[in-house]
Amino acid sequence: MSERLREKLNILADAAKYDVSCSSSGSDRKNTNKGVGNGHQSGICHTYTEDGRCVSLLKILLTNHCIFDCAYCVSRRSNDIERAAFTVDEVVELTMNFYRRNYIEGLFLSSGIFKNADFTMERLLRVVKKLRLEENYNGYIHLKTIPGASDELITEAGLYADRMSINLEMPTETGLKLLAPEKSHKDVIKPLGFVKNQIIQFKEEKKLIKSVPKFVPAGQSTQMVIGATPETDKEIMYTAANFYKSFSLKRVYYSGYIPISNDSRMPVLGTQPPLLRENRLYQTDWLMRFYGFDVRELLNDANPHLDTDIDPKLSWALRNMHHFPIDINTADYQMILRVPGIGVGSAQKIVQARKFGRLYIHQLKKIGIAYNRAKHFITCADSPYQLKDFQSHEIKGFILAESQSKYLKTANNQLLLF
C-alpha cells in the first residue's frame, strides 16, 4: 500500500512540477474552531529545490491521464509515460500529514483532464471540500480552474480555495494554435473573467453582510511558457500587462520551456532552458508592478527584446539619460524608484531620512543602495563634481566592467576565438 503511494506521489509530483507557481501569500484565512492551519499574509517557503525554486505547497496532479494532446506538456495523450491517479482520501491524508509536520504551507492541486471538464473539476472540488469540511483544515489551497467547467462548480470551488489559476500556456493565440490545436485563449479568458467578477461581487456583498464567506481571497494567477514558440519579449510582456489589467491577476508566471519531446515544432531535446530570458522577463514584471513603469516604456517597437547583458531598469535609464542625474535630496519618490541600484525599501528610507537633513554618500551606502551602479544617475550632498558628461555606452561599460553576471561568464564585448 505504502509502496504504491510512493510510486503515485513520484509520478504525479513529477508531472506537476512544470507549473511554476508556488506562492502561498495573500490569504489571511484564520484558523477557526481549533482546527489546523491558517493563511500567512506573506507566505512561507518551506524549502527550496536544488534548482533554487521555492517549495511551499504540495504540488501534485490528481491524475496525469489526459484527453488533450498539447505538444508542450509531458502528460499529453500521445506521450508514452506511466499514468497514475490519486484517490480523494490519499490526497487528503498526504496534505494533512505533511502540513502537521510543518513540511508545507498548503496544497496545490491540479489535474489532467479525464472524461470531461466538469467531471475533473468535480473531483478536485471533492478533495478540497473534504479538507475544509471534514478535516477542519484552514491552510492554503491553490486550485486549478478547469477550462470549460460549469459556473456552479467554479463558484463552489472558489468558496474553499485561496487561489485559483488557469494557464495561458502560450503568450499568443497563434503560438497556442500551433502546439495545441484543440485549445484557445478564449477557453482561458472566460473562466478568468468569471472568477474575477465573482471575487468583486463577493467583496461587495461582504461590505454589507459580514457573514459572506471569503471567495478566492488570494486572487488568480496564470502562467506562460517561454521559448517554445518564437514570440518576442514585447509580445510576451504586452500579453502579461493586458492580463494584469483586465483580470486583476496577482501574478503572471513565465516558465522557460524545458524540451521534453522530439516535436519538430519546438526546440530539440537537450536545448538549455532559457533561464536568462526568464529572469529578464520577471525583472520587467516587477518593474511594472512595483516600480511604476509602464510596459511601453520598457518594450516597444524600437526595442522589442530585452537586453541580455543588462537588466531592464538599467537599460531604460541608459536610453533615457535626459532624466538623469537626479538629486536624491529633492527628487520625487517615483523618480528615485527609477534609479538603477535603488530598490523599493531603500527609496522609502531615503524619502523619510532626507526630511532630517541632506543625505551624504556614506549614508546612502549604509541604507543599502548599490552605490557603484546608482552613482552615475544621482547626485547627493557630497557627490564629487564631474567635468565630463558620460555617454550611455560609456556608463554601460563602467557598470559592466565592475559587475559579474551569473549568466554570462565572459563579457559580451569580448570576442571568442574558438
Binding site: L9, A13, K17, V36, D51, G52, R101, Y103, A353, R354
Partner: protein, 251 residues
C-alpha cells in the same frame, strides 16, 4: 562613565531611566558578565527595577508605533553585544527628539536597530519555514532548533494559531529552553534530557507512521526538482547549509 546592568531587557530600560535621572553625559553600558573594572572610568551599578523599566517602555510606546516597538524588542533578542549600547542610545535619542525621529535613517543608531531587527525577523521567518516536526509515539509533535538569534518568543503566536489541535514542542537546544503547547496555552519549558535524544534519528520513540511520511516527503522533494535547471548557488542562498540539519528532506 560605565553603567553596569544585569543583561536583561528590563535592566537595559532601567539604565535609560537612571541616565535621565542623572544626565551623566556619555555612558557606556555593559552587562555584569562582561564587565571588567578599569582605573580610569567610574562605574555605576544599575539595579533592575520593574516600575522604572515599565515607565521607559510606556514612554517609548507613546512615541513609537507597534512596528518600531517590535524593532527594539527584536534588536534586543539578537543578543549581539553591541546592540545593548545601540538600544540604550536609541532610547535616549527618541526621548530627546520630537516625535517621528525614528524615521531618520540617516542616523546610524536608527539604521542599525532597523537593520538588526530585520535580521532577527528573517531568522524568525526561517524558523517558521524550516522547523520540521516529528510525531512521537505518544502523539506529540517535536522539533529541536538552534537559531542564530533568540527567536523563540517571536514564534509562539504563529505556531499556536496554526497548530491549535495538536500538542507540540519547539526546543532551543543552544539556549536550553523551549515552548510547549498543551492544546490550551503555550508554556515555557526546560528539559533535563540528553542532547542526543533530541536528534532526528531516534526511531523507537517515534510514531509508527513517522518514517513513512518522512520518506514520502523526501520522495516529493526529489520529484519536484527539475534537473535541467540545476542552480546550486541559488539553492544554498535560500537554504544555507547551517539549516540543513533541521530539514527532513536534506538528511
Amino acid at each position: 562613565m560605565i553603567y553596569i546592568f544585569d543583561g536583561s531587557l528590563e535592566g537595559l530600560l532601567t539604565s535609560v531611566f537612571e541616565w535621565f535621572e542623572r544626565k551623566p553625559g556619555a555612558v557606556t553600558i555593559v552587562s555584569k558578565q562582561k564587565y571588567q573594572p578599569d582605573v580610569f572610568t567610574t562605574a555605576f551599578e544599575v539595579l533592575t527595577d520593574r516600575t522604572k523599566a515599565d515607565r521607559v517602555w510606556q514612554g517609548l510606546t507613546k512615541r513609537l508605533d507597534r512596528r518600531w516597538m517590535r524593532n527594539v524588542y527584536c534588536a534586543y533578542l539578537s543578543e549581539i553585544p553591541e546592540m545593548q549600547q545601540e538600544i540604550f542610545g536609541f532610547c535616549i535619542y527618541i526621548f530627546q527628539n520630537p516625535a517621528g525621529a525614528e524615521k531618520n535613517y540617516g542616523n546610524a543608531q536608527v539604521l542599525n536597530i532597523a537593520q538588526t531587527a530585520r535580521k532577527v525577523e528573517r531568522e524568525k521567518h526561517r524558523m517558521e519555514a524550516f522547523i520540521r516536526f516529528q510525531k512521537t509515539a505518544d502523539g506529540l509533535f517535536y522539533c529541536g532548533i538552534d537559531p542564530d538569534f533568540n527567536v523563540i518568543p517571536l514564534l509562539v503566536n504563529h505556531f499556536k494559531n496554526r497548530y491549535a489541535d495538536q500538542q507540540w514542542i519547539i526546543y532551543d537546544i543552544k539556549r536550553h529552553y523551549g515552548i510547549f503547547y498543551n492544546l490550551e496555552t503555550v508554556e515555557e519549558i526546560e528539559m533535563d534530557i540528553d542532547i542526543n535524544l533530541l536528534k532526528k534519528s531516534n526511531q523507537h520513540m517515534l510514531d509508527e507512521q513517522e518514517m513513512l511520511y518522512a520518506d514520502l516527503w523526501k520522495d516529493y522533494f526529489k520529484s519536484t526538482n527539475i534537473v535541467a535547471r540545476k542552480n546550486t548557488k541559488l539553492h544554498t542562498q535560500h537554504v544555507p547549509k547551517r539549516y540543513w540539519k533541521y530539514l527532513t528532506e536534506k538528511l
